[in-house]
């Protein structure tokens, strides 16, 4: 829906403008103005990073249902899901780069690699995934680029550039391209599982943090990626695809019903984790969960993580969502936003317990804040920059790129 896309573009540009000040602060003053410190080394930006990387993996895996596993029913949302995966991946990378103490050395991960670090592995996998997404998107759209380059003018020139010399072919050429897409998608599925499971592994291997140190953790990452990415796509299919909830009613409702499964499994895993940890008395296991549920930030767990991400969408999807694509889309939107809370409660509770009892009171200096973290204004401003950038790129893509897969079927 064009009006909504333009609205997103405006919101994105305003957010970007406000956030640019934050980026300027970040680049000139470094990390002095952050709210975290050595006791809580990973904070808001890491929360958003795993949130967006989850959205990327999730939307990509849903797109593979279409291009690899042949769910033709969802085809209209295929290109949009690949594009969403690309934008989310880039947003996640912005968040993780601004988080580095020495951003200018980020490329060291390639030139002086460590094979024992899960962090190094996932960066290599993200890179492979990025090129795979670009190639897949190009093969999906290159016939349309070639067709659109005939329109002339500035936009025609842009499409000619994007077509990279592709000549417009008929149905057969398209089918050939779709075969390439299928192969790329098939390579992408294990890749997405690896990089997102790998992101969970970055946390899970930390023997120092009992909250993360379990084999369940990488699996939870995958399930919640499918849930959050699926939720976002459901919303996008309803509200971003032209005439989405009217024209693609079955698709939206179908995605919504699929989302029920993802949310259900996610809930099951969370319940399992919470019950087991709460039963014990070992502080390293007990406190991170107890603080999430009843600590000062309880509302993040109950309102965002449980209410918005899981319960409300499930209630909608199981009742009015079965008939209404608008409600299904709304359920997806609410859930996708709620997952920010889930991500917060993946990162921060990991630091809820002092490494050695009493260490938090052994030293009093700025940034030495055990168990106490409130994101600083600068952190929020930088986050606005990255989110504004994501919205802007997303809206521009929707305005300029041929992201509706089903166009030729409609005509």
């Amino acid at each position: 829906m064009r009006k909504l896309v333009i609205f997103i573009l405006v919101v994105g540009l305003v957010t970007l403008a406000v956030g640019s000040f934050g980026l300027f602060e970040r680049l000139t003053t470094g990390l002095v103005k952050v709210g975290w410190g050595s006791p809580i080394p990973w904070a808001l930006w890491v929360v958003f990073y795993i949130y967006f990387i989850g959205l990327s993996a999730g939307s990509f895996l849903v797109s593979s249902l279409i291009y690899v596993f042949g769910f033709k029913k969802f085809e209209a949302v295929g290109r949009l899901s690949i594009f969403t995966a690309l934008v989310s991946l880039l947003t996640a990378m912005v968040f993780i780069v601004v988080d580095l103490g020495h951003m200018e050395r980020a490329f060291f991960i390639f030139i002086r690699p460590s094979f024992t670090s899960p962090l190094a592995w996932i960066v290599w996998l993200y890179t492979a995934y990025f090129f795979l997404l670009l190639t897949e998107a190009w093969f999906l759209m290159r016939q349309d680029f070639a067709r659109l380059s005939r329109t002339g003018g500035l936009s025609g020139r842009l499409y000619r550039l994007l077509a990279l010399g592709t000549k417009e072919g008929g149905e057969e050429a398209r089918n050939q391209d779709m075969k390439v897409v299928k192969v790329l998608g098939a390579i992408g599925v294990p890749l997405a599982i690896a990089f997102h499971g790998g992101t969970g592994t970055v946390f899970a291997v930390s023997v120092a943090r009992a909250y993360w140190y379990s084999g369940l953790f990488p699996l939870m990452f995958l399930v919640s990626a499918l849930a959050s990415g699926g939720a976002l796509l459901t919303a996008l299919a309803a509200f971003i695809l032209p005439n989405g909830y009217r024209l693609h009613r079955d698709l939206v409702i179908g995605l919504g019903q699929l989302l029920i499964i993802f949310l259900g499994i996610d809930m099951l895993m969370e319940i399992a984790e919470i019950l087991v940890s709460l039963y014990g008395i070992a502080p390293a296991h007990f406190i991170p969960i107890h603080d999430q549920l009843f600590g000062p930030n309880w509302y993040i767990f109950w309102f965002l993580g449980v209410g918005c991400a899981l319960i409300l969408p499930l209630l909608i999807l199981l009742t009015i969502g079965r008939k209404s694509a608008v409600w299904t889309g709304l359920a997806g939107l609410i859930s996708a936003i709620g997952f920010v809370g889930v991500r917060w409660n993946i990162v921060l509770p990991g630091f809820a317990v002092e490494e050695l009892p009493g260490i938090g009171r052994s030293f009093f200096e700025p940034h030495w804040t055990y168990g106490l973290y409130v994101p600083s204004a600068m952190e929020w401003r930088v986050s606005l920059f990255a989110i504004g950038l994501a919205l802007t790129v997303f809206a521009l893509g929707n305005l300029l790129l041929p992201l509706e897969s089903a166009r030729r079927h409609e005509i």
Binding site: L31, S38, W42, G101, V205, S206, P357, H367
Partner: protein
């Protein structure tokens, strides 16, 4: 290193000596003394646990570093290459003892008091190099890096003991080569009244506590 907990009075001279020796900025500390209170007021006693970097035999912080910026030297000291560290802080996350700090570029007095104190601009000599510190160069290492106790490597290489050892008023700390059977530390580490922190994690700390 061996620390005799019976002799520790919790004066924190070691923490201060470390601050002074390594010129660590706000929020960065290589050494802490953890206090634990036992009993309910007024019937309380306290016990102290000084904690430098434990220089583990199997350091979890080293394995997770994505760029090999932190590594264990042949002599056993775990060091950070300030020129290579990208500042991802994965090592801070991985350390089970909270022994690593992130240098966020803070100063004690710059922008906080009318005059800038000289010690804020004093260079540190970690790893035997001069690391200048100025608010005008916020991107310069070790700002943005992970930092940790290195057993005062720059002193060791000149035949001096780490600052925390020489300053200890109770003589509670011993330093030497654990692999040299005749050394005092090797004899004390072999005592039955010895413990290491979180042995169950398999990190094999090189710091022993005498009980």
């Amino acid at each position: 290193m061996v620390i005799d907990l019976k002799k520790c009075v919790g004066c924190n001279a070691c923490t201060i000596a470390c601050k002074a020796e390594n010129k660590t900025p706000p929020g960065v500390t290589y050494h802490v003394v953890i206090e634990e209170e036992i009993g309910r007021y007024p019937n309380v006693t306290r016990r102290f646990l000084p904690r430098p970097c434990l220089q583990c035999q199997h350091p979890p912080c080293v394995r997770v570093c994505p760029v090999n910026a932190t590594y264990k030297r042949a002599d056993g000291v775990v060091v950070v290459d300030y020129e290579a560290c990208i500042g991802c802080r994965y090592c801070l996350v991985a350390c089970p003892y909270g022994a690593r700090s992130s240098d966020l570029g803070e100063f004690y007095t710059v922008g906080k008091t009318p005059t800038v104190a000289e010690y804020d601009l004093t260079p540190s000599f970690d790893y035997g190099r001069e690391w200048k510190r100025s608010p005008d160069h916020r991107g310069a290492s070790p700002m943005g890096n992970a930092r940790k106790c290195h057993f005062c490597l720059h002193r060791l290489e000149r035949g001096m003991l780490p600052a925390c050892i020489t300053t200890c008023i109770g003589g509670a700390r011993y330093f030497g080569d654990l692999n040299d059977g005749d050394s005092l530390v090797a004899k004390q580490a072999a005592s039955p009244h010895v413990m290491r922190l979180k042995e169950e994690l398999g990190t094999e700390p090189s710091v022993y506590y005498l009980l």
